[in-house]
Symmetry: C2
Subunit: 548 residues, 2 copies
């Protein structure tokens, strides 16, 4: 039996000179006994903490796609060597020297293109703790106190949204039968979980029918005499909602886009009309949910949540709010009212890796009714037995890490006020940026910021004049020209690698699609000087465009 424990000396160790043997292998699983090993392991952490950071300081780092293709030629070997190719030290050095310089410096104040930003330094420590503890919160037997802690963190965030009474939280916070929310990988899966619950509550078991979860969508439609099932969301809804409907067997074509008003919010009149049409003219169509957005991905706008909630209550429809982006605004005393009505939602999505400034990735979904997730409960013989406190009973995912430890600790370190300062900075800097854009003749502010996201575009003065004095056909031509200019300048800026603003295409009913530049202000180091630099660079690049 013990023969295999003998050191295996390979005679054909590859060029690395490293061999895998049992003794070395065992050593990497135990706490290093000698001081030299301990020092080495700490030194590696120092390199990770500061080495990576130093490299990333230099540029934003989104270079040409052609350059990327060349780079990708270095990653075409699909073979795994028999023996080790590298030691940890070499891996770290390789990542610092070869990977980090070609990664994207999302931490740069000049990176204002996506909902990814710098994170506080302590987040890396907290994430390291989670890996070192390596608990699996699917069940108590692999997490114990960490499951208890997760329930506390869920209650804290639930309270930010719903602000129920102290008694409510005292009762539910550690009650195994209550589920205030659930951690999942990201907002996409949070939205999926919310609509999964909504679907199951829409098609509950009844006489001769065991429920949609057991019998499937087709049987549910038959049992409930439904032909089709729809979800209403503004035209600015995130594509994850479509994906959720696709996955859940509802069909992504059954998302009904509701028109938006001039401020990019769901038009309540349009919502009511859509519902009236369905109710009056399509008896076989069931409305599964209405989704409101608190911080649309493209424009950062917030739907009129309170009004949507009232409509949903009138019609007895599940009201989900996608607050993946905007949720933490509730922590700001100054701006929390922007999300008024979110507390009326049946379910709410929030992302931890967005405005809670956590490392990738952490999605969360919350439910007003602590029994809502009973409709998606699963048990097994070896874990998650009925009555147990295993968090995996009501969860889309099975095995998962204890990211609640990161969020819970971050809340303690930041306090409400710390997060509020970040939120306020983003909203106020975006407002000031909008003013700056309006003052510069080359640009046009397209969607003013409600939170901390705005869109604008290059729209040179002469073309603005032309626009005003011309007809529909010519305007179409002008739009195409402007789109081309903005696509080109955005790409040039991205490829130069000094700063990054993203672009998207805004679609409005009855108007041509327009390409806009999109900026997301969440990095506390992004200030007006940085934003001025970014506009200056765009202006400089515009003037270098060949005449079209």
């Amino acid at each position: 039996m013990n023969k295999k424990y003998q050191t295996i000396i390979s005679t054909d160790a590859e060029k690395s000179g490293l061999v895998a043997n049992w003794e070395t292998l065992q050593r990497i699983f135990i706490r290093p006994e000698n001081e030299a090993s301990r020092i080495a392991l700490v030194k590696y952490m120092e390199q990770i903490l500061f080495g990576l950071h130093d490299f990333l300081q230099k540029h934003v780092g989104i270079t040409r796609e052609a350059g990327l293709r060349q780079l990708s030629d270095r990653f075409k070997n699909s073979a795994i060597g028999k023996h080790p190719e590298k030691k940890l030290a070499d891996v770290i050095q390789g990542i610092i020297e070869d990977i980090a310089p070609h990664a994207v410096n999302v931490a740069s104040p000049y990176f204002i293109g996506h909902m990814t930003s710098a994170i506080p330094f302590f987040m890396v420590h907290l994430a390291t703790i989670v890996s070192a503890l390596n608990q699996n919160v699917v069940k108590l037997e692999t997490s114990k106190i960490v499951s208890v802690l997760e329930r506390q963190v869920l209650a804290k965030i639930h309270r930010i949204i719903y602000d129920f009474s102290e008694d409510f939280y005292d009762f539910h916070i550690q009650r195994p039968e209550s589920t205030l929310g659930s951690f999942v990988e990201d907002g996409t899966l949070a939205n999926l979980t919310a609509l999964w619950v909504a679907r199951n509550r829409c098609f509950p078991p009844g006489p001769g029918f065991e429920g949609v979860e057991a019998e499937g969508v087709a049987a549910a439609f038959r049992a409930h005499q439904v032909d089709r099932c729809v979800i209403l969301v503004s035209r600015l809804g995130h594509y994850s909602l479509e994906k959720a409907c696709g996955v859940l067997g509802i069909g992504n074509g059954n998302i009904i886009p509701v028109d938006i008003d001039a401020d990019n919010r769901m038009d309540i009149g349009a919502l009511k009309r859509e519902i009236a049409v369905i109710r009056n003219q399509s008896p076989g169509v069931k409305i599964l949910a209405v989704v409101g957005i608190a911080g649309t991905t493209e424009t950062g706008t917030v739907d009129p949540l309170g009004e949507i909630a009232d409509v949903c209550r009138t019609h007895g429809v599940h009201f989900h709010v996608d607050a993946a982006w905007g949720g933490p605004v509730r922590l700001s005393d100054k701006y929390r009212t922007l999300l008024n009505g979110v507390e009326k939602a049946d379910s709410v999505t929030i992302d931890g890796h967005k405005q809670f400034y956590m490392p990738m990735s952490c999605g969360m979904v919350y439910f007003k009714d602590p029994q809502a997730m009973d409709s998606v409960a699963y048990h097994a013989a070896y874990i998650a037995r009925p009555g147990s406190v295993d968090l995996g009973i009501r969860s889309l995912v099975g095995s998962r890490s204890a990211v609640s430890l990161i969020l819970g600790s971050a809340i303690e370190i930041m306090g409400r006020k710390g997060y509020a300062l970040l939120i306020d900075h983003g909203i106020e800097t975006a407002a000031a940026f909008a003013e700056l854009i309006k003052r510069r003749p080359l640009f046009e502010l397209v969607t003013p910021p409600e939170l901390n996201i705005l869109t604008y575009r290059i729209f040179p003065g002469p073309l603005k004049q032309e626009w005003r004095s011309t007809g529909l056909e010519k305007r179409k031509q002008l739009t195409r020209k402007l789109n081309h200019i903005n696509i080109t300048v955005q790409r040039m800026q991205r490829e130069a690698g000094n700063s990054f603003v993203s672009r998207t295409t805004l679609r409005r009913s009855g108007a041509d699609d327009i390409v806009v530049l999109r900026s997301v202000i969440m990095n506390p180091l992004t200030n007006m000087a940085v934003l001025t630099d970014i506009l200056n660079e765009q202006e400089y690049l515009y003037h270098r465009l060949p005449e079209t």
Copy 2:
């Protein structure tokens, strides 16, 4: 505008004495400029690396549920303080002193109850790198080279499973239009992704029908003239398969459990009979997929994959293999043949946090056909535009972290041989443990290990004699008594906190449910001395049971 940048001094700072202010806040986002701060941040990492470990050394750490309930009283505050409650140093100290001692020491060699184990030390460093870089691999603009690297890692693991030609990998590895696999949070979501793809390929678009993803399951059934859709899997299938069918709108009741043979593998005869019955007697029933298991959760057995593949090919049915546990066995030259036939699967699930020894959590799904995931592609206006190389186009999840960097680096550090040594140790130690159990009169080996999982139970000699000489009714009574004994001893051992073996209930058609003790041997420090200790403790506890 700049007024808000002024330091905000709160007069009502809470008892912590900490206040959130803008200057401090900005500082935590930037690389520390002075040596003292750098030293402090490194010191915290040292505490995390070794402080946590020291505490965890002391016990396995699964105590009484009553004890847990008392503990949970400390986690009932749901309020978030206005000002910071703790500094990072306090948080780390708190976790080391108050959380870690009540967490579960999954790293202990005496923790052999679940598929969670010690991880090599370097994994914590790799996970820290991922957090420090904080790339979001949903799109190239927030990950760049890391997306390229992920494609390489996917190809390497794909090759472990399918072992296609060098040319195949050269062509597909970096080709944006090809998808060899996808990272998701865990095996549950990997199984879900596989069945999502299978569902969509089963109900493709056709004349007057846009496909199940667009129109939903009910419309798909109408278009394809199907009444019901089923998935066949052995009785030992993981509960995530049921959950996947529930989520996908197929209905978890439409999983047809296939009988197992005496070795706990899917009975091929039974599979063929089930299919024949469906094909001959139920014209409206469509078989969506057959799932084979490579390492069942409860007994670690491997279904006859090659034979199942042949049956699936005959009937044109999607063949999915849940190799969440067993996949890495392909890295062992000695035991790789145990998984023969996996290369015939249309899709395969593998977990990184299981036998790749990664930190929680990393699920993966692989497809034989690099075009299979086209059936689940999604685009948006601001990312994942058609033709882009964004990995988020074909993925269940949206934003996610670059765990491929951990796995890719781990493979380089371990080599095939390193992983093979771990796999071989687990399989051979489990075999030796089985022999040990057979030699001890108090125990009965229930399911011998095929890989590194086995089940056994306490079955005292006198009761064995009684069993042999008695009839059916008395045997039922004896089974109940044995179940009670095993439940009690497992709980006592868990609560004592020295070691942990899990328990499950095995269900066999035509026989009573029996409660068994389940052990999973994956920690390289779990040796025969440890396993002997564990049996000795169980024997000791058994003799302390009150007479029943």
